[in-house]
């Protein structure tokens, strides 16, 4: 019999407890990874190549305050801008959804969005059909897949923010953007339903060069300073991050929870090792009496502790990787998360945590073994 064999045989002595502890470690690491991925997804905004060029212009008062449509002329004349379109968040309830609809609906001027929607892959014919029909819309492929919709189908929405309901015909389906969920329709259609109030929600602007974005936002802000509708222009990324900052302490919250989970994890591993070694006391004392040195006994303990932690890591972290790879997260969370990627960095983090725990959990038992004399150890009952 060799050393690894001995260690493994020992570990499997109490199968039920081994299973319990490995699964607890696995569960905690799974949770830890889930939290870290969620945090990453929530604080890193969706971005594609185009988003670094796009700017959102909103009313300085708040996002809830509309902007006068006449601002369009001023915006067009600002140097450095290659495209401008109205961009109004309709935020309606899709017919059939009970409490909330997880995909957004935006009103734009389709003729002006070629560059703004440059990432969207959609056939020319469909785009033209969309432009031609004021009551039509284009829908992201994720949504059409989810609800089983095709071109020509109608979508109905109840207004929750705007006092009007929509009935749109699907003219095209797009994909390839960072968020393939949205429904995009005509601002003019919305205007007519509202009785032409002459306002838009926000402006969607595309700059000529990414490096110029700060300069262009500055120009936009200045252009409307001291008018009746002052604006706040910011890059699309800053805009999305602003949302997250309104949630204030989500980073702290998740960070705090992660620490707490790790602590609970520590409790599990330390307790398990403690229990395991207590059972083996007599044996270890005998080994000592037979001439095994402390060093070797420590190696036994450490190996088992490490093995327990790593076993948990393989199931927990590995399991998380597999699960999130296979699952359609978008469907499951009703679109709250589009993507849930377990990066190599996170796997590394999880395994490091496990390794550290494996070492920590072995400390107390090692100390006890070191301190206990052979005689005392032999006296222990098992």
């Amino acid at each position: 019999m060799n050393l690894p064999g001995f260690i493994i045989r020992n570990a499997f002595r109490n199968k039920r407890r081994l299973a319990l502890s490995v699964s607890s470690v696995a569960a905690s690491l799974f949770l830890l990874i889930t939290l870290q991925v969620a945090l990453r997804e929530l604080t890193n905004p969706i971005s594609d190549e185009g988003s670094s060029l796009r700017i959102i212009v909103r009313n300085k008062v708040s996002l809830a305050q509309p902007l006068p449509a006449r601002q369009l002329q001023t915006l067009e004349r600002i140097p450095g801008i290659v495209a401008v379109s109205p961009f109004s968040f309709y935020g309606g309830l899709y017919k059939g959804d009970e409490k909330f609809t997880s995909f957004a609906q935006f009103a734009v001027d389709p003729a002006r969005t070629q560059l703004l929607l440059a990432d969207a892959k959609i056939s020319k014919a469909q785009t033209e059909a969309w432009i031609a029909d004021q009551t039509s819309c284009i829908v992201g492929r994720m949504t059409t897949d989810r609800y089983g919709l095709k071109i020509g189908d109608r979508m109905q929405f109840t207004g929750q923010i705007y006092p009007c309901d929509l009935e749109l015909k699907i003219a095209g389906i797009y994909h390839g953007t960072a968020d393939d969920r949205n429904v995009i329709f005509h601002q003019k259609y919305l205007d007519e339903l509202l009785g032409n109030p002459g306002t838009v929600g926000t402006w969607w602007v595309r700059a000529a060069f990414a490096a110029e974005v700060p300069l262009v936002t500055e120009r936009i802000n200045r252009a409307f300073a001291n008018t009746s509708a002052e604006v706040r222009a910011e890059s699309e990324r800053a805009f999305v991050l602003g949302f997250v900052s309104m949630w204030a302490n989500i980073k702290t919250l998740i960070g705090g929870i992660s620490i707490v989970v790790i602590f609970a994890l520590l409790l599990v591993t330390v307790s398990t090792m403690s229990m395991a070694i207590r059972e083996r006391f007599r044996e270890l004392a005998i080994l000592k009496a037979l001439g095994f040195r402390r060093r070797e006994l420590f190696a036994f303990i450490l190996a088992e502790s490490f093995g327990l932690a790593m076993g948990g890591a393989i199931f927990g972290a590995g399991g998380a990787w597999v699960v999130y790879h296979l699952l359609n997260i978008q469907k499951l969370t009703s679109g709250l998360f589009i993507r849930f990627e377990v990066t190599p960095r996170m796997m590394g983090l999880a395994f490091s945590v496990a390794a550290l725990l494996g070492v920590l959990a072995a400390i107390a038992p090692m100390l006890t073994v070191a301190r206990t004399s052979v005689v005392q150890g032999l006296k222990t009952l098992d």
Binding site: V61, S62, M246, V261, A264, V268
Partner: protein
Amino acid sequence: MALPIRYSLRNALVRWRSTIATVLGVALVVFVFVLLQSLATGIEKSSGNTGDPRNIMVMRKGSTAESTSLISRQNLQDIRYFPEIARNAAGEPVISADVLVLVNLPRRNHGGEANVLLRGVTPRGKELRSQVHLVAGRWFEPGKREVVVSAKLAKRFANFDVGQSFKSGSTTLTVVGWLAGGGSAFDSECWLDADECRAIFERDMYSSFLIRAVDDAAGEKFIQRIEADRRFKLKAELEVEYYRKQTMTAAPIKWLGNFLAVTMSIGAVFAAMNTMYAAVGARTREIGTLRVLGFRRRAVIVALLLEGGFLALLGGLLGCAVAFYWNGYTTATMGMDTFSEIVFEFSVTPMLVAKGLIFAVVVGLVGTALPAVRAARLPVIAALKSL
């Protein structure tokens, strides 16, 4: 016949060093549970505490929040003379038309920005909301760009002291007073004159009407009348109902609290198991002796369960005590119902404490179960022979 309770209690206390891990583990679980739930309870309390049962709120049909509802002057004309609405001394219907605006403002100490709910309110609107009263400064005067902010919000947002001004868009508003909402949703609002509000933010529509019904029966009639009439496209509900239904912020926090408590309790259960296995291991002779003296297995199991439960209870008390430190602590988050910053207090209620303690004891019992069974299964003689 049972072993005396003091046997369990004293045994729990005498080895306190080795039981620390369990007590702390349970304390941590209970702390997190109670803290998160008290957060949710605080949010619910503040919305549950809002409104006068005699008032009825009218909004656009289909709106989920007052701030996104849009109703017209015409609507006001249509309903203001309904008989169910109470009249004041001068014979005018007690109805207030409010305008709600969300304004993005900076927090103190560079804490980022958040949406603040501004309510353009008429004098009648003030009367209808008797919970709200002035605690500093004075009320705004009509026709002036003056605002009275919630005292609680004033602690969080820049330029909210009495006498200071802040800008919204191109308009400057002066803070002339602080209001207190008595622990209700109004503690997260700022009030100004309704007409000024409409002028500044270019609103020709109202957000909501608030009416005082003649009596409860009239109130019900009024609601039915509004709901039934398709011309209006309005909905009416009791003011207290509207606020009570705002659960979107608290619900996910509650869920999180429960979820975390359950997952973390696995660790606590393991710790308890470890402690009790140690106890049983150290006391095999003692347990054997008790069996020799005539105590049944059952008695041994119960005594050990009591011991484990007691330890866990200590942990629970510790966790609750630490969580209680936060009781009454005011904090804020983005309310998912109003999309503006809502201020509330952590609310550690007796019910929560009880839940936390029960949870702790259950964890202790679950952790002790296996060691207790092991103790009971020890053959009497083997226990006596141990050295």
